[in-house]
């Protein structure tokens, strides 16, 4: 789960990481008033849950309350990567003498947390990583031992940080490590961490991703979820406990298990079709869940056929079948469905579905081909 910049900054502030003075605004007049309060020179920053805001024009320096109002009006009418901007962060402008990158994330290769730092921070950090990897310092952290002082010195030295900043820099790294572990973050990032003209370290931007699997122990952080800032279908999917990602094709998919769901999309693609979505109903799918999944797929008007592929292990085929019958009864749709059910209680499932107008397939290949034929009758 991603946090907005302002939410992440509020968290950082609680851990004593210095952030610029700033407030959130939902209207241009509010932004104007905040600009006055903050001394007239501020940065207006779109709050959306995607990267690349700056390059899309969602981050602007303004020099007067009038300009703040005008620019905020523009930003609030923008869409950044399809997401509407509903709020802006108004931060006091800071004069920058150096930009540092600092981040802690999970390194799945090392299977450990890793601290990453660079003296070449800023919007082009990924390019720096590609072109001059020598400018990026990385340090694995033992998750049982935690971050150690010598590691902080090592990192400071390897990014050529002037000695006078080592102490405040160390305090910020420790705080970031605490945020990462206390909150079960999968990413805690400051880019850039700047050295100001007045020789202070300030976190100008903040990015936090939280581990969805750990939210059960952080009810306060779960409350920060911005439902409006997320994709509608993915939010719906989460509500019913299914994992959903929309794609561009016309064959809707409903599958149990992420690997099999991907393989089902792959096979549709392999035989010349286009999957409309990734949908994993998970293990032990109840009939309500199946019905919700079907409605979710049908909400996409591009869908011309649905392929249902369930390999029953924990998931019982008869339960899936009941869900399908339920969904078909409740949803008014003439989109054809191909069903392939194998495994636990397969025969029972067939009996349940015998009255419904569905096309059966015995294998995944057959299922994919039949679904493709429905979408492209000229090929059949």
């Amino acid at each position: 789960m991603k946090l907005h910049e302002y939410q992440a900054k509020n968290l950082y502030a609680k851990y004593n990481i210095p952030i610029p003075r700033g407030r959130i605004a939902a209207s241009a007049s509010e932004a104007r008033r905040l600009c006055e309060e903050l001394g007239g020179k501020v940065v207006i920053k779109a709050q959306v849950l995607v990267g690349g805001r700056g390059k899309a024009g969602g981050v602007r320096l303004v020099k007067s309350p009038e300009e703040a109002e005008e620019v905020t009006t523009q930003i609030l009418s923008m869409k950044i990567k399809d997401l509407p901007v509903r709020k802006v962060l108004v931060d006091e402008a800071v004069s920058i003498s150096k930009e540092i990158y600092l981040g802690i994330t999970n390194d799945r290769v090392a299977q450990r947390p890793v601290l990453i730092a660079s003296g070449a921070g800023g919007v082009d950090i990924e390019e720096v990583a590609r072109k001059s990897p020598g400018k990026i310092a990385r340090m694995e952290i033992d998750p049982l031992l935690g971050l150690r002082d010598y590691q902080v010195r090592d990192i400071a030295l390897s990014i050529d940080l002037p000695r006078q900043f080592w102490r405040p820099f160390g305090e910020i790294i420790y705080a970031l490590w605490k945020v990462y572990t206390d909150c079960d973050a999968t990413l805690a990032e400051i880019n850039p961490l700047v050295i100001t003209a007045e020789n202070h370290l300030v976190a100008l931007d903040a990015k936090i991703d939280l581990d969805e699997n750990a939210l059960f122990r952080h009810p306060d952080l779960s409350d920060l979820r911005d439902i409006d800032g997320e994709d509608w279908a993915e939010t719906q999917g989460r509500k019913f406990g299914v994992s959903f990602v929309k794609m561009e094709g016309d064959i809707g998919c409903m599958v149990n298990g992420a690997g099999l769901a991907m393989a089902t999309m792959d096979i549709i693609t392999h035989f010349g079709g286009k999957p409309a979505n990734f949908l994993d109903i998970g293990g032990g799918a109840s009939s309500e869940k199946v019905a919700a999944a079907i409605r979710l797929i049908l909400a996409d008007k591009n869908v011309k056929a649905i392929l249902i592929n369930v390999f029953g292990g924990i998931t019982r085929c008869d339960e899936v079948a009941e869900g399908l019958v339920n969904a078909c009864a409740r949803v008014d749709s003439d989109v054809p469905m191909v069903v392939r059910l194998v495994g636990t209680n397969e025969d029972k499932a067939r009996r349940i579905l015998s009255g419904a107008s569905l096309v059966y397939a015995d294998s995944l290949v057959e299922g994919a081909q039949k679904a493709i034929a429905m979408v492209k009758p000229e090929v059949a």
């Binding site: 994330t105 799945r108 450990r112 990453i116 990583a129 999968t186 991703d209 990602v245 298990g257 293990g283």
Partner: protein, 286 residues
């Protein structure tokens, strides 16, 4: 003998009184797996499944009484890390964790703790292992596979069943099938299992099922080119998946170019692994 466990295993089920734990204990027992006991804190002294299986409060206690040497974990995600630590401290040789949704920070701590210990961990978020006709630890359906000489190792759950089933339909048998699980931080990886298959006299060829994300398949490809003499066939899921949700800049800096299905397929092909275009094709490649 098969890899990881035989019919001599003395298996403990952690979380035996939950719905899933109980159901799958029954399934494992009807496959003749030697389940010697279960653990469920607060329920020590009970017997389950018509009085056939004793329940203990702690793993330590269960080991003292039953001599268990392996455990399978079905406890809820929030208690899973503790259950694994408990099994490791009780010197289990093999721990298979079925539970999904375990926080990744918990798993990183588990992984660190396992270093230098003799316990082998499989999972979490995995279907477990099956040696057809001999032993089943976990939730892989027993009726879609027959004994044979093909080793199967997979990061997926139901996709593994799909492949097992297509081998079954082609009358090809399996020595052992291991589902290592799809989580980013987990116990045994592809290489650990490939190593066991390479050394196993009953395995003549290996099927590997991977998916997008991480670099497990790339590392496996290097191992295959250096150390495997047995033929390997593979399927990698996710060639049509949209680019994964990126984890800020740090994820891109770390993962660089690896992780995509193309990169994995390329790498595996370059070391002589035969790649299937779809799961059901794999039976014809081995």
């Amino acid at each position: 003998m098969s890899i990881l466990a035989t019919n001599k295993v003395r298996l403990l089920v952690q979380g035996i009184t939950g719905n899933e734990g109980l159901f799958h204990t029954q399934q494992m027992m009807s496959y003749n797996t030697n389940v010697v006991g279960g653990v469920s804190p607060g329920k020590g002294g009970d017997w389950v499944l018509d009085g056939k299986v004793p329940v203990f409060d702690t793993v330590k206690n269960a080991v003292e009484v039953t001599g268990a040497n392996a455990s399978v974990i079905f406890v809820p995600a929030r208690y899973t890390a503790d259950a694994i630590f408990e099994a490791v401290d009780a010197c289990m040789e093999l721990v298979i964790c079925i539970t999904e949704g375990v926080p990744v920070l918990d798993m990183m701590r588990v992984k660190e703790y396992l270093k230098g210990k003799k316990t082998r961990l499989i999972g979490p978020n995995c279907p477990g292992m099956l040696t057809p006709g001999e032993v089943k630890i976990g939730i892989i359906p027993g009726n879609i596979s027959r004994p044979g000489n093909i080793g199967v190792v997979s990061r997926s759950g139901t996709l593994t069943y799909e492949v097992l089933y297509s081998l079954y339909k082609e009358k090809k048998g399996v020595s052992t099938c291991v589902g290592i699980g799809g989580d980013p931080v987990k116990g045994m990886g592809f290489v650990d299992v490939l190593e066991l298959f390479e050394a196993d006299a009953k395995t003549d060829a290996v099927v590997m099922i991977g998916e997008i994300g991480g670099n497990d398949e790339e590392v496996a490809a290097e191992f295959i080119s250096r150390q495997m003499t047995k033929p390997v066939a593979a399927f990698i899921a996710g060639i049509s998946a949209p680019p994964g949700k990126r984890m800020g800049h740090a994820g891109a800096i770390i993962e660089g170019g690896s992780g995509s299905a193309e990169s994995k397929i390329e790498k595996l092909k370059s070391v002589g692994v035969r790649l299937a275009d779809y799961p059901e094709q794999i039976a014809s490649l081995i």
